[in-house]
């Protein structure tokens, strides 16, 4: 039996807040052995990140370990002195944080930040640390590590920064690695590369990994054991096959049913079945597409410091969105999908190309006509925490478009607000609440209600579920599908998540570097991708292992 690295027993952590104590972690026990990867899975608020923070004792202010022990190779982390903690952190346990874009000191060179670990623990001298840092960066899969070591964080992409953080976590060769959602902020293909790399880095050295993730697909692919958390407690644990194959707990089953990466393959997507009965026949071939773009090009001038010149963000993009259907624009960050959507919405002017609404060229429309056009096309944004004014009531938020276009009077607008909340399945009592009093899913419903206020024909959904938990994601996607059917809406659905796209879209356009590399019906593209890039994106969807073992593939 391999060495036990970490034992967490009966852990309870409480946050002291203005509204009283919040028990984030109520009762968690788990262990990690050498050479083992344990995935801690749960939704936001389940206490998984708090558990991870407790393992390295990096809890937020106001958080207190009420009960339980954290034993890391004989060190009682839960009660250790600052001196002991400093000796343990970095040396025995490395941490890979959640968001690489904000987890590196912006004013320090990459190499210095990696070397600092060695310097703190007095492992090598100054010169040795520099060499070791470059080697660690190389091992983490960063190209040109000598050059990168002299650069600053903002000069690197998100994926590269996460590799730097992995180098920092592993440079002192710790026995245990705690990775808190290490790839949630990254594109799928980058996510796969990073997770692959973590595996190879640790497999030879017997390093144990505690992997915190909300994605059951990732857990299934990567972990030797899975621990499922809900509301501060461990509700299920076991091997991936046991947990995902025959889940004992109701919560695990719900989570499993909602996980997009597993769901699309396991159950027949509800939207697809809806479209199979009401789909193609409702599209009258005589009626043209509600929104069409032809040969769109958008250039951005680069700052002089970057050598000037122009960046072609959107390069000859054409697509048509049939009435009542969903067209997904898929691509990774920087692929030009959001810029394309902005062009289609006429929020930005294209360098060349045309935008047609109902067959009418609106590329040059401006002034009052453009305002009229805005009524027909509305947007739902990615982050419902940022897209709603925190000081406004839900009623005020939802009726703002009506006020902006002087639709109705105060009374009819209030009635419309209540009606809209009903449409998005929110209780009327939510009308007087403020965004802060609502959950993420509820906020996104409010954002959808606002988009529907003016009865638009086209709704642009910009990553509408990316910021939401999987179970909430599923509910919002179902809501959107229902609205489409009921109101005959046409969706332009922007997403990086192919698993989600597979569930909701009828047609898909895959973008890479501003170009459409593949376009067609979702079923066809997913079953038989012709572009290499599409195939790569598809294979990067986590959860392949489960899909294979449960035989749920199409």
């Amino acid at each position: 039996m391999s060495e036990r690295l970490l034992t967490v027993a009966d852990l309870a952590v409480t946050y002291r807040t203005r509204h009283g104590d919040v028990r984030a972690v109520k009762d968690v026990s788990l262990h990690v052995d050498a050479g083992e990867t344990v995935a801690l899975v749960g939704e936001s608020g389940s206490g998984k990140s708090t558990t991870a923070a407790a393992v390295v004792r990096l809890l937020a202010d106001g958080a207190r370990i009420e009960r339980g022990t954290v034993d890391l190779l004989g060190h009682d982390v839960a009660h250790a002195s600052p001196r002991t903690l400093q000796a343990v952190r970095g040396r025995l346990v490395g941490l890979v944080p959640q968001d690489p874009t904000v987890s590196l000191n912006p004013v320090q060179r990459i190499g210095d930040q990696v070397a600092e670990v060695l310097r703190i623990h007095g492992l090598v001298g100054r010169r040795g640390a520099v060499v070791a840092a470059v080697e660690a960066l190389r091992a983490a899969g960063l190209p040109d590590p000598e050059v990168r070591a002299r650069q600053y964080p903002h000069e690197l992409s998100g994926g590269m920064r996460q590799r730097v953080l992995i180098a920092i976590a592993l440079v002192a060769k710790p026995r245990l690695l705690v990775a808190d959602e290490p790839t949630s902020a990254l594109d799928v293909t980058v996510q796969r590369q990073i997770l692959d790399h973590l595996e190879t880095l640790t497999s030879g050295t017997g390093t144990g990994i505690l992997l915190i993730t909300h994605d059951l697909g990732v857990a299934a692919d990567r972990a030797d054991r899975i621990v499922v958390m809900s509301q501060g407690r461990v509700v299920e644990h076991g091997t991936p096959d046991a947990v995902l194959g025959s889940p004992q707990d109701a919560y695990t089953r719900a989570l499993l049913a909602a996980a997009p990466s597993l769901r699309g393959a396991r159950v027949r997507p509800r939207v697809a079945s809806a479209s199979s009965t009401t789909g193609p026949p409702t599209v009258d071939p005589a009626v043209g597409p509600v929104l069409e773009v032809r040969h769109l090009v958008k250039d951005f001038a680069l700052p002089r410091s970057a050598g000037g010149g122009r960046l072609r963000a959107v390069d000859d993009v054409s697509f048509a969105l049939p009435r009542g259907r969903t067209l997904a624009l898929v691509g990774e960050s920087g692929s030009g999908k959001s810029t394309t959507a902005r062009l289609a919405l006429r929020l930005t002017d294209p360098t060349s190309g045309t935008v047609l609404v109902d067959g009418q060229d609106v590329t040059g429309t401006h002034g009052e006509h453009l305002r009229a056009l805005r009524r027909r096309m509305q947007v739902v944004y990615q982050n419902p925490y940022a897209s709603l004014d925190p000081r406004w009531s839900v009623e005020r938020i939802v009726t703002e478009p009506l006020r902006a276009f002087r639709v109705g009077d105060r009374r009819t607008r209030a009635a419309r607000a209540a009606e809209l909340l009903d449409v998005v399945a929110l209780p009327a009592t939510a009308l007087q609440r403020r965004p802060a009093e609502l959950s993420g899913g509820q906020r996104q419903r409010v954002a959808i209600a606002r988009a529907l206020a003016l009865q638009p024909e086209v709704v642009v959904l910009d990553e509408p579920v990316s910021a939401l938990d999987v179970s909430v994601q599923a509910q919002v996607l179902d809501l959107l599908a229902g609205l489409q059917e009921g109101l005959g809406l046409s969706y332009l659905f922007i997403s990086h998540d192919l698993a989600v796209v597979r569930q909701v879209a009828h047609e898909v356009a895959v973008l890479q570097h501003g170009r459409v590399v593949e376009q067609g019906a979702v079923e066809a593209v997913f079953a038989d991708p012709r572009a290499e890039y599409t195939a790569e994106l598809l294979s990067a969807i986590p959860g392949a292992r489960v899909r294979a073992t449960t035989g749920g593939a199409r």
């Binding site: 990096l58 400093q86 970095g90 912006p106 004013v107 690197l156 920092i168 929020l347 947007v379």
Partner: protein, 331 residues
């Protein structure tokens, strides 16, 4: 860099011109003129003809635009005119007044940065919540205390009760201490306020946790990681408060009866000695412009993210990898 400096210098000249012009308009819009004030106005026994002659001598009888342009021409040649009170060249008067003021301002700035910065670092470092809160409440107090009262209190204690420092005068280093402390109080309080707020913010940044996860101790996280990031906004404020030091010198030098730019300002404004006041305005504006130019040049050295390019829109944008602009500014 050269191009950047050239642009900034051109902007600086524009600011100086604006400062000069505004002060000209304001000063000449005041009722009365220096000559009538000087010769006792209506009650004097000088005949209107004589007054007119003096006015003509100073060029005060000509139309305002002409006066403005002639004076501007002189200024461009380095001639700031002569004092209407004692007839000495303005450049000489200002040049004499600058060194004593520069001494207390420099000492005051050093004290403000050291004490204000130190207070901010200690207040955000101490573990005791009560002590931290007490220390953090000091800067607002420091800003609120009137300088003249604080100066008089210092004199009362350290010159009369315990005669350590002289109460008045310009002699020796000892005479600098109390005025410098008086000047440093509001400035240091501002620095402390700014730096402690930034430090509290940076200590909660995710990258500070990354440093802690490396095994870094509190001192290292505080000084090596948080401080440099927190110093950036403080640097901007420091550039602004140096202007404040000059205006603070007016009160301080009056309280401590010191010769210097502040006193010169006070007496010249009181006597409506317009050329001298304008000379001081021009000097103060020059200092202000140069300090802020220096701050702007220093900024990129401290923050690698700042590239010296005029990017009006991208200035506040996160410096992530070249991503697409988000879908902001909805229909």
């Amino acid at each position: 860099m050269t191009r950047y400096l050239a642009v900034r210098l051109a902007q600086a000249l524009g600011v100086l011109w604006a400062a000069y012009t505004v002060s000209f308009v304001v000063l000449y819009a005041l009722p009365g003129d220096p000559v009538s004030l000087l010769y006792g106005g209506d009650s004097s026994d000088i005949s209107p003809e004589q007054l007119a002659a003096v006015r003509a001598e100073y060029g005060l009888d000509r139309p305002l635009p002409v006066q403005y342009l002639t004076q501007l021409g002189h200024v461009l040649q380095g001639d700031l005119g002569t004092s209407v009170v004692n007839g000495r060249p303005v450049t000489d008067l200002v040049a004499e007044a600058v060194p004593p003021t520069a001494q207390i301002a420099a000492l005051g700035l050093v004290l403000a940065l050291v004490l204000g910065g130190g207070l901010a670092i200690v207040a955000t470092y101490v573990r005791s919540r009560a002590l931290s809160h007490t220390l953090l409440s000091l800067p607002p107090l420091g800003v609120a205390i009137p300088s003249f009262w604080f100066g008089l209190t210092l004199v009362q204690w350290f010159s009369f009760t315990f005669p350590v420092f002289p109460a008045v005068g310009n002699k020796g280093f000892a005479s600098l201490v109390l005025p410098a402390i008086t000047l440093a109080l509001p400035t240091g309080a501002l620095v402390a306020q700014m730096l402690s707020r930034s430090l509290l913010g940076t200590l909660h940044e995710p990258w500070a946790d990354t440093a802690r996860a490396k095994g870094a101790g509190r001192v290292r996280v505080h000084l090596r990681h948080a401080l440099r990031n927190a110093a950036l906004p403080t640097l901007t404020v420091t550039g602004l408060v140096i202007g404040g030091l000059l205006s603070g010198a007016v009160v301080t030098e009056t309280v401590f009866s010191r010769a210097g730019l502040g006193r010169l300002t006070a007496t010249s404004v009181g006597a409506q000695d317009v050329p001298v006041v304008q000379g001081i305005v021009l000097f103060a504006a020059t200092v202000y412009v140069l300090v802020n130019l220096l701050v702007d040049v220093l900024y990129p050295l401290l923050d690698p993210r700042i590239v010296r390019v005029r990017r009006p829109r991208a200035a506040a944008a996160p410096t992530g990898p070249a991503g697409e602009p988000a879908l902001v500014g909805a229909a």
